[in-house]
Every structure is written in C-alpha cells, then in structure tokens.
Amino acid sequence: MVENVLELDDLTAYYKILKGDVKALDGVTFRVERGEILGVAGESGCGKSTLAKTLINREDPLKHISGEAILNDEDIMAMKEKEFRKRRLKNIAIIPQYALDAFSPTKKVKTHIKDIVREHQVKVNSKFWDKVKERFSLVNLDASVLDRYAMELSGGMKQRVIMIISSILDPDFMIADEITSALDVTSQRFVANMLANLRDQDIIGSAMFITHDLAIMYQIADRIMVMYAGHIAEIGPADMIMHNPSHPYTEALISSLPRVGIQHKDQRLEGIKGTPPDLIDIGPGCRFRFRCKYATERCTETPEREKIRDRHFVSCWNHEQLGSDSNE
C-alpha cells in the first residue's frame, strides 16, 4: 500500500504587503509518497520556493491563508512554532537555497555542524561524530574535512556537507531547494545523484526536489509537478511530463530547453512570449492564459484539475487540444 508522507490540501499562502495580497501559492493540492522524489519545477515567481517556505518556516509577510499540510497524520499548518520546532530536522528538513553562502569562513566545518544540531537538542558525542564520518564516506568526503574551514572547500563539497547535516537525523521528508543551481555541471550530477542515493538507502523517507532546471530534475525525480504563478499546472510521472506534456505551459517550457544535438542552424527553439502575471490581487482564471496559444474564452474561469491517466493530473480546459507531436 502506498503511504503518504505529506499531503497538501488546498494550501494557500499569500505575502501580505501594503499594496495588497501577493497570491504566491493559491490552492495547492498534492501528496508525496514514501520513497519518492517529487520534482517541483517552474520559473522564478511560480511559487516553488514559497511552497518550501510555507511548509518549513513562514516569516512575515508570508501568511498561511487556508488549507492543510498533513505530515505524518498531523497538520503542520495548525501547529504552534514551539511544537513544530520538534519536527524540524527529525521529520521535515530543508536544504535551503544559497546555503553555500551561509558558512562562516572563519569557522571549522565541525563547529558548524555542532552549532546546527545543538539547536535541535541532539547530543554531540563521539557516537554522533562516528555517524557523521560514516555519512561523509558515503559521499566521498574525507573525515579530515571536519577540521577544515568552509572557505577551503569547493562549492560541490560544501553542498555535500550541507546535505549530510540536513539529513543527519534521517528525516521523513526532505525539501531540496535549488541544491544544484549554484554548482558546476560536474558537481551538479554528483549532488543530484546523492539526493537519490540518500533516498535509496532510506536515510531520507522522501524528498521534494525544487529546481528551475527541468533537465536535471528529470534525471532523479519519480514524479514532476509543474507550477505556474502560484498554481499547479500539471503533476504526473516524470517520463510522462517530459515526453508527453499535457499542459500548454509544460509543453512550451520543455520545447524551449536547448540540448546537445540541437543547433540553431538546424532547429530553432522558441521561448514563451510575455512575462508571468503580477500576482497582487490577481483574479480568477487560468494564470497562463495571457501567454497561451491555446487560450479560449473559457480560460477566464479557473480550470479544474482533471485526471487524464493514472497519477497524471492537469489543470487546463483545453488540454485535449495539445498535439502529441511534442516528441520531436
């Protein structure tokens, strides 16, 4: 039987600012099964990082408006901060974006690790360090890294250290927010594989892999969720999304991705015209309709989510219009 680690039901969170409500996350419903990696894709401003923040750390002006997020049978949205604190790192953990820059250059790596885990009432004893060293060897880091300064490490090595710290308490659910974005291509592959390996070895229960880079997401995600302007456009098995996209946005996004073997002389790739809408007090309707070539009158109504095949859902009135010729 499939066990869900996380279930989101109509989760809505806005940035409450003077000018109005920025509807960055609007009625998001999905679940994450134990043992899977869910990729969350989308461009800047689509709500993918807001989703991560809503789940783990809401700070002003980000406010939870409605909806539930059930983690291991408990609604973490209804939880007080004091209560939720106990879950962080143990049940739900995050590898934040820009974590690479958070290392102080004057502290040794082991001091960093000590500081972080102490916050979470973990006993820092020799048993703990043995565990850290064991985890280090999993990702080809030498134990001597503990005695080095953060500035001596490359970006890829720092990212590995961060991932080991974040997963040290074997969390059920891990949010990986743009963990590969700041890295070189060679480190990207290693770090992405590392996330999948942590899952394979049951160190993390399941993960949400947030990135704007669909190509790297496809490498390790079991399912992919595509977001646009605070809504879920489409969610389904990774192969289906990449080879048979059913939402006009997904289709346009994937066909705009360059790949080795496509040169401008032979094939011209097109982007998507226009820019995402302003999310302040945005009204109903499909938010992609302004840039969509399939848009019709009906798109001023917010589309309902439709199940088009097993585990594959799409929110578009006109999804049947999409050609199946997207396979090139």
Binding site: N140, V185, A215, R259, V260, Q263
Partner: protein, 307 residues
C-alpha cells in the same frame, strides 16, 4: 592553428596568460589563464565553456581591456590592443568591442532612467551623430522593446528587458565583437531563447561576432559555431562545435558531457561518477599520449595532449 590573413579575421588571441599574485612575503600565484590562443571571425559565434574558476571570465575581461595580461597578445584587426594606452585609442577600440554581463541590474545606475545608457553612448562615442532619437528607437525595436520602457527606472523592468536594452546599446554602436559573459544565466528558460535567437539573428545579419561565455553546454551547442573548452585557465579542446560535441577527446571534455543533464535521457545511476577523479585521468591521458601541446585530431578540431 594556421595563420590566414583574410579580411574576415577580427580577433586573434595568442598565448594569452594571466597570473594573479597574492600575499606579501610568500607570494602565491593563481593561474587565471595560461597560453590561450584562438581566433574570432566576422559573423561567428564562439563559445568559451568552462566551470567556475576556469578563467573564462578572465579571458573575456582581458579582451575588454579590463584586466592587463601577464603575457601574450590580443590582435584586433591586426593591431595589438594590449599596448593601447591613450584614451583616444581605447575609445576607438570600445567603439568596436563591447561586453554584456550576467547581472543586468548592476550595469544600470538605479538612480537614472534606463534611457541614460543610450544618451551616454552618444555622448562618449558619437557626439556628432544626427537623428539620435530615431537611432535609439530603431535599436530598441530590433530587440523588441517598446519606447515607453525607456523612461522607466531599472527596478521597474525585468532582467530580460534590461538584457535586451544592453544588447540594443551594442547594436547602436554597431560593434564588431560582443562579449557576452553568462548573458542569460539569470533568465528563465522561457525568456532566454528569445534573447539567444535575437543574438544569433543579429550576428548573421550584421556580421557581428560574439564571444559567448557560458558554463551551460546545452546552450553552447545551440548557439555557437566554434567551441573552446577551458579548464583551470588552459584550453583543453577547441574547434568546430559539432565535432567536439560528437567526439570529445580530452578526458575533461568527456566528463563535462557525461554530466550534462538531458531532457530526454537519464543518467545511468549505477555508473560511478566522481568529479574528483578527473585530475588523475588527465595525468594518465597525457602520459599515454606521448605528445605535447595542441594536436589536430580532425580538421578544425584540436586537443591538448600534454602540459
């Protein structure tokens, strides 16, 4: 590389080296670039590909005369520009060679309307020009920017719009070479193709050459005619883009291609992949091939076979 002095040759870089010194007593030397040579012709797009610290930006900055080379020559239309010192000569050079950088927000002064960059171009380079307004409108029209945006402040525009304005500035100057340093890394997938296609069209229509500095091999393949692969300041492979991508010879180039994510095919997760092993592999490669320097492995495809 054979020297042919035809009219198409715009830029020729020979043995370009940059060493950075740090420390006072124990001087530390960091290699920014070492013995880099390549040529750029009219209407050609050359991509300079490398990871962080490979020296790709350093090379771009030396060509733009923002950094002084330690050794080597840069010839622009036959003239060595590393020795250009007078203000007049430099201005003349910048009239023909311009750069566009990764972060467009830092290029604009946030206190002024974006139109200022165009007015400055006229003031600095073409004070005698007529029909200035008309020329500006024509340039921004080519990059799909509407005139009302000219009166806005940088923070009111998106990154993509600002990048377009910077390209329009280069168009206004009608430069021979545009150095695009990680030009579209900040842009979203859906908007960056528009800018890339725009650059390609301008290049082919006007005969402008582009040195496209990037870490993204997928983009590099799409845009460039020629590819230069850099590692730790040295070129390791150079030549025709399709040839290099089809048949990478240097172990470093091979590893780069193995790590590029593809939107159609997945990596083999069982395959052991350790980026740290590359230094050893390169040493072995140099030892096995008892050659030195760059050797041609095919027509217009050169590989570094020894340090």
């Amino acid at each position: 590389m054979s020297k042919n002095n035809n009219d198409d040759l715009l830029l020729s870089v020979e043995g370009l080296t940059k060493l950075f010194y740090s420390g006072i007593i124990n001087k530390d030397v960091t290699v920014g670039a070492k013995d880099v040579s390549f040529e750029v012709r009219k209407g050609e797009i050359v991509s300079l590909i490398g990871e962080s610290g490979s020296g790709k930006t350093t090379i771009g900055r030396m060509i733009l005369k923002l950094l002084e080379p330690t050794d080597g020559k840069i010839y622009f239309k036959g003239q060595d520009i590393t020795t250009l010192n007078s203000k007049e000569k430099k201005k003349e050079y910048y009239r023909n060679v311009q750069g566009v950088f990764q972060d467009p927000y830092s290029t604009f002064n946030s206190l002024f309307r974006v139109k200022r960059i165009f007015n400055m171009v006229f003031k600095t380079f073409m004070p005698e020009a007529k029909n200035k307004e008309e020329k500006i409108l024509q340039a921004i029209d080519e990059v799909n920017i509407t005139p009302e945006l000219l009166d806005k402040y940088p923070h009111q525009l998106s990154g993509g719009q600002l990048q377009r304005l910077l390209i329009a500035r280069a168009l206004l100057l009608d430069v021979d070479i545009l150095i695009a340093d990680e030009l579209i890394s900040m842009l979203d997938a859906s908007t960056r193709m528009g800018i890339l296609n725009l650059l390609i069209d301008i290049c082919k229509e006007r005969g402008m050459a582009i040195i496209f500095i990037t870490h993204d091999l997928n983009l590099g393949y799409y845009i460039s005619d020629h590819t230069l692969i850099l590692r730790e300041g040295r070129l390791v492979e150079r030549g025709d883009t399709k040839k290099i991508y089809k048949n990478p010879v240097h172990p470093y180039t091979q590893m780069l291609f193995e790590s590029v994510p593809d939107r159609k095919e997945k990596w083999d997760r069982k395959e052991e992949f350790l980026p740290e092993q590359i230094s050893e592999k390169i040493k072995e490669f140099y030892k096995e091939n008892d050659k030195s320097d760059f050797q041609a492995v095919d027509e217009n495809h050169y590989v570094l076979f020894g340090e």
